[in-house]
Each structure stands twice: as C-alpha cells, then as structure tokens.
Symmetry: C2
Amino acid sequence: MPRLADHDHRRRQITDAARRVVARGGLPAATFQSIAAEADLSVRLVQYYFGTKDDVLRATRQAVAADAALHIASAVSEAADADAADPREVIRAILLEVLPVDAARRDDSMVLNAFFFDEITGGASDAPSRDAAGAANYLETLVRDRIVLTGTDRRTAEIDARLIVAAASGLAQAMLADRELAPQAGELLDRLLDRMLTHR
Amino acid sequence: MPRLADHDHRRRQITDAARRVVARGGLPAATFQSIAAEADLSVRLVQYYFGTKDDVLRATRQAVAADAALHIASAVSEAADADAADPREVIRAILLEVLPVDAARRDDSMVLNAFFFDEITGGASDAPSRDAAGAANYLETLVRDRIVLTGTDRRTAEIDARLIVAAASGLAQAMLADRELAPQAGELLDRLLDRMLTHR
DNA sequence: TCCTTTGTGATACGAACGTATCACTATGCT
DNA sequence: AGCATAGTGATACGTTCGTATCACAAAGGA
C-alpha cells in the first residue's frame, strides 16, 4: 500500500480554488483551466479528482454551503457567549456576519449568490440541489427563534424573521453593487432592528 | 427610397425575444441561436441588426431598464390618482408592482437580476453600464421622497427607504426561489410597511 | 527491489458558439 | 422598369471548452 495521498485535502484545495474563481468572475468564469490555474495544479489533476466539471461545481457548492452554515453557527455561539440573553444582539451578530462588510465575506456573498441564481435559472442539471437557497431558510429559522424568545407569537415572528432576512439579503446585494456601502452596514442594521424588533 | 423597414420595431422584436430567453435560462442561455429561434427570425437577421452579441445584450439591457422605469412610473401615477395623498399606499403600490407576484413580473425580475449579477461580476465588458443597479437607486429615491412627505427628516428617510427597498429586493429574491411565496407578498409588504413607516 | 498508487503531459476530438463573407432573393418606391 | 433597401441561406473559420485516451514518470511502502 504505497504512497497514500490526502484525497480530502486535495479535493478541498480544488474546491477552494473554484470558490475563488467564482467569487471573482461568477460561474461562467469557472472552467477547468481557470480552476486548475488558481489552485496551481495541472488541469489534468482536477479531472483526475473530479471526473466532470459538474462534479467540481457540485462539490464546491456543497463546500460553500457547509462553510456558510458553520460560519453562521459560530457567530451564533460567540454572540450567545458575549451577550448571554439579548436576542437582538444575537440577531445583529448573525446578520453582520453574513453581510459583505470585508473582502472575505464579500467573496462568500458573491459565491453564494452565483450558485443561488444558477439554481433559480435551472442551471443545476439533474439534482434539485437547493443548497444556496437553503442558507436563507436556515437564517430565517435562527432569527425566528430569537424573536420568539422576546415573547412574540410564533406566526408574527415567522413573518418578521422573513422580512429581516429579506432586508439583510437585499442589503447584501446592494453592498455587492456598491462597495462604499460597507461602512454603513452597522448603522443600517441597527436601524432595521430598531424598527422590526419593537413591541407596540 | 424603396422598401422602408421599421427598424425600431425589428430591434424591439429581437430584444424582446432576448428578454424572454434570459428570463427562462439566465444570461448563459442567450445565444444568437436561442434568441433568433425565440423571435422566430433567422439567426442571420439578428446579426444583421445588431452586429455582435454584446450589442444585442446591451440593447436588451437598456430596453429592460427603461421598461422597468416606465413600469414603476406608471404605478406611481396610478397610485397617486387613486389614493391621492397617502404616501404609504403609494409606496405599497410601487413595491407590489416590482415584486414577482405573477408570471410577467417574475420574468422581469429574473432578467433584471441576471443583468444585475452580470454587472457585479464584471461581465459587462467595456462600458460601465450600471443599468440594472440604477433601478434600485431609482426605487430608493421614490420611496424616500414619499417618506419625507410623512414628515420624517431627510436623513432618516434615506435610511428607511434604503431598508425598505432592500427588504423588497430580498423578498423578490426569495420569491424567485420559491414560487409559493407569491400569495403572501401583500401580507409581507403590509407588515413591512407597518414596521417601517410608524412614527414613534 | 518491485509494484501500486499518484500524478503528469501531450494530444485529440467533438460540440457550441461568435463572427465574417458571398451570393442570392424579394420588395416596393420613384 | 430599375435600383436601392431589406432579408435569406449556406458555409466556413477560429476559439473555447469539456472530455477521453494513452503512455509515461515519480514515489514510497512491502
């Protein structure tokens, strides 16, 4: 049993490269050539590890979705630690973690959006594959649960959570189009939560 | 001066076809072949009227942006007629006009989003061409002006308008992913405006 | 040492697509 | 009738890209 290679590491190397390529130029920019070049590997090796291009993109999409979920989950636990009980602060932390406020998050947003619109337009061939769309649902659940903690009834909390996540997602979109918006993200978020989380 | 053809009509025929193709399959689906087939014209004629593919897409993008602006403007004037003075009803009418609540609006949203993300990823080659991004700005201005009418100070109105438009844009995105959301659009919008347009 | 896994390189083929060219037809004003 | 405009069809060329194949090199544990 000679020369055991770290397949998982290799695969991650490749999907990470694909992720960067997509972040830079969208899904159309993702070709065998561009991905291999970005990973500084031979085109052949990419073929070698993933048979077809669809396989590469499928794996990349799943990796991105999983990373995003982890990212959010860690933001939740951090916020929960720091500010033990205030649901509003937790929600704020989650959303601030998701908005494209810096280069890294900007890349994440771009990639997620690229896959999302590919799914919408039916670009994803055989599998249903609602990975990117699922991320928004996950966010909604998190936010909804936090709103319920404030004493809001479940149905209202559901609607409000949907609106809050929609607003964040729309803000993210706007920030992708206009980088100058990044510094205002915190302020906008505060204002949004002021308006959405107030009992009356 | 023989056989005068209606060039504008022809061009619109073609850009309309392109619009439908993009609505169905995104920008990657827009090829000379698919556009010509959709317009029921020869591939050659499309080349004949617009030299290159970029020209076709440029014209389509501009047509779509212009249509959207007209669409919104007419919604504004209708709402202003019906409910002469209530800014909230005008805003509601505008946003309901923009959300993908039916097939036609769904197509519009798809196309706008397709071009928008193309612009973001730098797909638009030479020209800056912020047509799609400009639409959101236009919306923000409209909403902001209506909010100012309620007595809110300008700076606050700007922020609120940005948040409202962001929420609508995020909702639109969610509705594109999940058609079942369409019937709830009105309710969600009402709730959003309840929360965002209340003085305190 | 040898054999298996791991990885490379060249190369080829076909499909989709954008683009250009040429020759040809049809139409309808003047 | 004649001619400029409008439109067609075939065809061909070059790219880019995905995919498949073949032979070969390297490396390290048994």
